[in-house]
């Protein structure tokens, strides 16, 4: 017989049982609460699972899984499904008190709850039920509060253990391989593996071990205790020990000792802490020990005290909290799915894709109509999260067909403001979008204003100036030419990336404006001091040819194009396919700019430019794309800035910088002011001296420029 490890008596100390709650349990509880229980907070019977320790350094835990909870089906009453234990999951009964508020959670009388469960164990011991169905010895209790808005769960386990008073002492404890002889150890291993391998006994966590004089070990049920009394047999009380520690038995032994003392009145108990390694009985990890119970005569007449509330992660007596927002909050799941798409794109096709540039980009969309709705959606698909929409109109009954963010509901009761309806729609599509809607009209040249409105118009101008300053890219998506003038000027002033999309009946124009006249490729943020070179050929401070803006090709200033037009020209009609095409191209062009090392200063490529394609993995970066649906064709063009441009030339931007609102008001109120300022008037005068082709070309250009958007 092996020698004992130690002979002096010390207090028998048990390693506390620990809890582990699988994510699936919380999912199921949430579902149960939402679909079946509602505010009913009566206690719910649940099933916990544990198994003998199977790892030399990691204990096993009492686990709650989705199966721990009763089924949700309305026919079934609230009882847990008969649990099919298997060798890895001994089921033990438990109870869950799930409260409806965090206040009622903290108000629970935990002492009494523990006492109640301890009483159940005690009653089972007294009645003999614990011998028949020993898993009740490991009965447990959980209190919880599920915050289903934040997807966080507060919970606290208790593993009631009946206290021996005075506590049991440990005579000796050693690995089973030392305490047993080699034959005995081998026989016990085999017997345990058989016990664990048989469906009928695999999940019975307390048992008896008898070893006969021939070193043959047998594992039996607890209820065979009387039957296996025999002088020459060694008897051990065995239990599945979740604990891995070499010097301490696990928690389940406590109630087993209480049972042994109360039922069979033993003073000296040989116990067997059964542990496994990789699924098989391991006699060196398993322990055999001897405990001495010295409770007084009347101990079992009254229910003993109980302990067992689990300590939290900080080692203190208190509840735990787990947050599952990451895997349960639909918004977060949507965000990670969206990010997944973009990451896949980058991983499989476009390694140089700059996802953080896209997600941090602030986009301002002027116009929330056909073009605006499509552009907003495309931007979100590219991972742009910050979108501001400006529109002063309301959703009309004809809009939902072509303006993809609106539905019939938005048209009722006079129609919601487009800017607000668009933002709500974007959030319904992707809750994590940071979208803002601004209901505001854009002041336009050639639309004179009354003096009483002057202040509010100035306010709008200032507001627009600030909006453009606070965004990184601006889309001009309004429905008149003149409404694009002020934004173009402000963008040229602030040197912001500006995308224009404009529609004719069956033709479209998409372009990126060139850099502003005061900008320098070397210093993107501020004007350089030496930008005094007022160029007459549209060069920026670096001497490079600036690309043009929407107005650079005009030889007339934007004036009131809406009056004196017939109805069908005024409320423009375009082929429905145009807006999606143009919007998509505008967004793709923007993404191209973002990935170009020179950004807004990038030179223009045209279709057959070879060098452009190899530099930028997204392809060439044109200046303008003009397309025709009747031809199913499109071509890219380059237009350089004009030094007489009414919106972006050096003169105009300087005037704005020097005179601010005064300049704007003059442009708004006097139709020919801009032409005078830029010298266009003079140009026109000299042009009319020569007749013929020049005029015809102007007419054609005019028609192209009369792009309206519905």
């Amino acid at each position: 017989m092996a020698e004992s490890k130690s002979n002096h008596q010390s207090l028998l100390q048990f390693a506390p049982m620990q809890s582990s709650v699988d994510e699936g349990f919380w999912h199921k509880l949430s579902s149960l609460k939402l679909n079946k229980l509602g505010i009913d907070d009566s206690p719910i019977p649940i099933t916990g699972f544990y198994a003998p320790c199977s790892h030399p350094r990691v204990s096993n835990y009492l686990t709650l899984l989705a199966e721990s909870l009763p089924s949700e089906s309305s026919e079934a009453s609230l009882i847990p499904e008969p649990s099919h234990g298997n060798r890895n999951r001994c089921s033990v009964p438990g109870i869950l008190y799930n409260t409806n508020t965090v206040e009622s959670f903290s108000a629970l009388d935990i002492q009494n709850l523990l006492k109640e469960e301890a009483r159940k164990i005690w009653d089972d011991i007294q009645s003999g039920r614990a011998v028949e169905d020993c898993s009740v010895l490991s009965r447990f209790l959980v209190i919880s509060f599920a915050d289903l808005k934040k997807w966080s769960f507060h919970y606290w386990f208790a593993f009631p253990a009946l206290m021996l008073d005075p506590p049991a002492t440990l005579v000796n404890l050693s690995p089973a391989s030392q305490w047993l002889s080699i034959e005995e150890a081998g026989s016990l291993s085999a017997a345990c593996n058989e016990w664990r391998g048989s469906k009928s006994t695999a999940d019975i966590p307390f048992f008896l071990v008898t070893i006969d004089p021939n070193s043959r070990a047998t594992v039996r049920l607890l209820k065979d205790w009387e039957a296996c009394q025999s002088d020459d047999h060694k008897i051990l009380f065995g239990f599945y020990d979740p604990c891995h520690l070499p010097n301490n038995p696990g928690w389940p032994l406590r109630n087993l000792l209480a049972l042994i003392s109360a039922k069979w009145n033993l003073k000296s108990v040989q116990f067997f802490c059964y542990r496994e390694n990789r699924g098989f009985a391991d006699m060196s990890l398993s322990l055999v020990g001897e405990a001495l119970i010295t409770v007084p005569q009347g101990w079992k007449d009254a229910i003993p005290n109980a302990v067992g509330w689990e300590l939290n992660n900080k080692g203190k007596k208190g509840p735990r909290r787990i947050s599952l927002a990451q895997s349960m909050d639909p918004t977060r799941l949507a965000v990670s799915a969206a990010d997944l798409n973009l990451k896949l794109m980058r991983w499989r096709a476009l390694p140089s894709l700059d996802l953080s540039a896209l997600s941090s980009l602030r986009c301002l969309l002027l116009g929330a109509g056909t073009l605006g709705c499509q552009v907003a959606r495309m931007l979100m698909a590219w991972g742009v999260r910050k979108i501001t929409l400006v529109d002063n109109g309301k959703v009309a009954m004809s809009n939902p067909l072509r303006q993809s963010l609106y539905t019939l509901d938005n048209c009722l009761n006079g129609g919601e403001f487009k800017a607000t309806a668009a933002v709500e729609s974007l959030k319904r599509i992707f809750p994590a979008v940071e979208a803002e809607g601004i209901v505001m009209a854009i002041p336009m040249p050639g639309h004179p204003i009354d003096s009483k409105d002057q202040d509010s118009v100035i306010n709008d101008c200032r507001r627009l100036h600030d909006l453009i300053d606070s965004h990184d890219a601006v889309f001009l998506l309004t429905d008149t030419r003149e409404s694009r003038w002020l934004p173009t000027l402000l963008c040229a002033n602030a040197n912001k990336i500006t995308m224009t999309a404009a529609l004719g009946f069956e033709s479209f124009l998409v372009m990126r404006h060139g850099a502003g006249p005061f900008s320098s490729a070397g210093d993107l943020s501020a004007e350089t001091a030496n930008s005094s070179s007022s160029d007459s050929c549209g060069k920026d401070a670096n001497g490079k040819h600036r690309l043009g803006c929407y107005f650079c090709n005009d030889v007339v200033a934007p004036t009131d194009s809406t009056s004196n037009r017939t109805l069908d020209q005024q409320c423009t009609v375009t082929r429905p396919g145009l807006a999606p095409i143009a919007s998509a191209l505008a967004v793709e062009l923007l993404v191209g700019i973002l990935h170009h090392p020179q950004g807004i200063f990038a030179e223009a490529d045209i279709n057959n430019s070879v060098s452009g394609a190899s530099e930028n993995p997204l392809g060439i970066l044109p200046h303008q794309i003009r397309g025709s649906l009747s031809q199913f064709s499109q071509m890219s063009l380059i237009g350089y800035s004009s030094s007489s441009c009414t919106a972006c030339c050096h003169t105009v931007v300087s005037e704005y910088r020097n005179r601010g609102m005064e300049f704007i008001l003059e442009a708004i109120n006097h139709p020919t002011y801009l032409e005078d300022v830029t010298g266009l008037t003079e140009l026109m005068k000299s042009a009319t001296k020569f007749s013929l082709d020049w005029d015809k070309e102007i007419d054609n250009e005019d028609e192209d420029e009369d792009c309206f958007e519905i």
Binding site: L11, L12, Q13, F14, A15, P16, Q18, S19, S20, V21, D22, E23, G24, F25, H27, S54, H55, R57, V58, Y61, T63, L64, S106, A107, I110, Q111, L114, M163, L164, P167, L245, N248, R254, R278, G279, N305, V307, W309, N312, N313, K314, G315, K316, K317, G318, P319, R320, R321, I322, S323, L324, Q326, S327, L333, S336, L340, K343, L344, W347, R348
Partner: protein, 246 residues
């Protein structure tokens, strides 16, 4: 090695595993694993009846290897710790008897991993799903999981064309799990196995998962014993495995 020439007269194989061969391949894999990989528990087959439009009447399923523990030292910060319970004073501790019999012990923190091998009908290849959780059940975020992956794996994931961790719904458990994205699988399986492929080679089908796992397992640090591969594969494995991760 120019594989193209070697397979010229054979039927060109696209690198995939047919659905009806998955369970056979799975059982070969788990048998060999049990035989040769003693440091790990065995893989279990979990049958799942599921209704697919194009499925045969065979029951589908997946392989699972659960509760693989990575033990951490005590000092590592448990950054998933619970909120400090403000109302601790509410709980009348005075009433509970002081218990000498409870051991106060420092706990080792462990990260637990569950691995599932699930068949993907759309890519027609197996996919490795995994998730990780702390001992109390709270899931680990990907940033923590990445710390557990073998050193070379982290760079592999950033640069490799073939392996990529994504988070998607587990096809049977309806919860987000992590997986190694399968869209490159058929390409590198082709690289790995084209040479030994013939449509009549039963052994090949059985070996599919073993070969597949010899590559994929490395990403998550589950090394298979080379004994599991047969001789031709071992040679192949040594020469092509490095190619795959270039």
């Amino acid at each position: 090695m120019d594989l193209k020439e070697a397979v010229k007269d054979k039927i060109p194989w696209d690198g995939t595993l047919p659905l009806n061969e998955f369970s056979l391949s799975a059982s070969t894999f788990s048998d060999k694993w049990k035989m040769f990989n003693h440091s790990f528990p065995p893989w279990l087959w979990n049958p799942c009846p599921k209704h697919h439009l194009n499925s045969s009447h065979k029951v589908e399923g997946y392989l699972s290897l659960e509760n693989v523990c990575l033990v951490k030292s005590c000092e590592e910060e448990k950054n998933h710790g619970s909120l400090s319970w403000k109302a601790e004073s509410n709980i009348s501790q005075a009433e509970e008897p002081f218990d000498h019999a409870t051991l106060v012990c420092p706990e080792f923190e462990a990260n637990h991993y569950d691995f599932h091998i699930v068949y993907s009908p759309s890519y027609r290849v197996p996919v490795l799903y995994f998730r990780s959780y702390y001992s109390d059940g709270q899931p680990l975020p990907l940033s923590e999981i990445e710390k557990d992956l073998p050193g070379h794996s982290a760079e592999l994931l950033l640069e490799s064309k073939w392996t990529f961790i994504t988070q998607e719904e587990h096809p049977y458990l309806n919860r987000p799990w992590y997986k190694l994205h399968p869209c490159g699988t058929r390409d590198w399986m082709k690289l790995l196995l084209s040479d030994t492929y013939t449509s009549s080679n039963k052994n090949f089908i059985e070996q599919y998962l073993v070969s597949w796992f010899s590559v994929v397992g490395q990403v998550v640090g589950l090394k298979i014993s080379l004994e599991m591969l047969n001789i031709e594969e071992k040679k192949l494995f040594e020469t092509t495995a490095s190619d795959i991760f270039e």
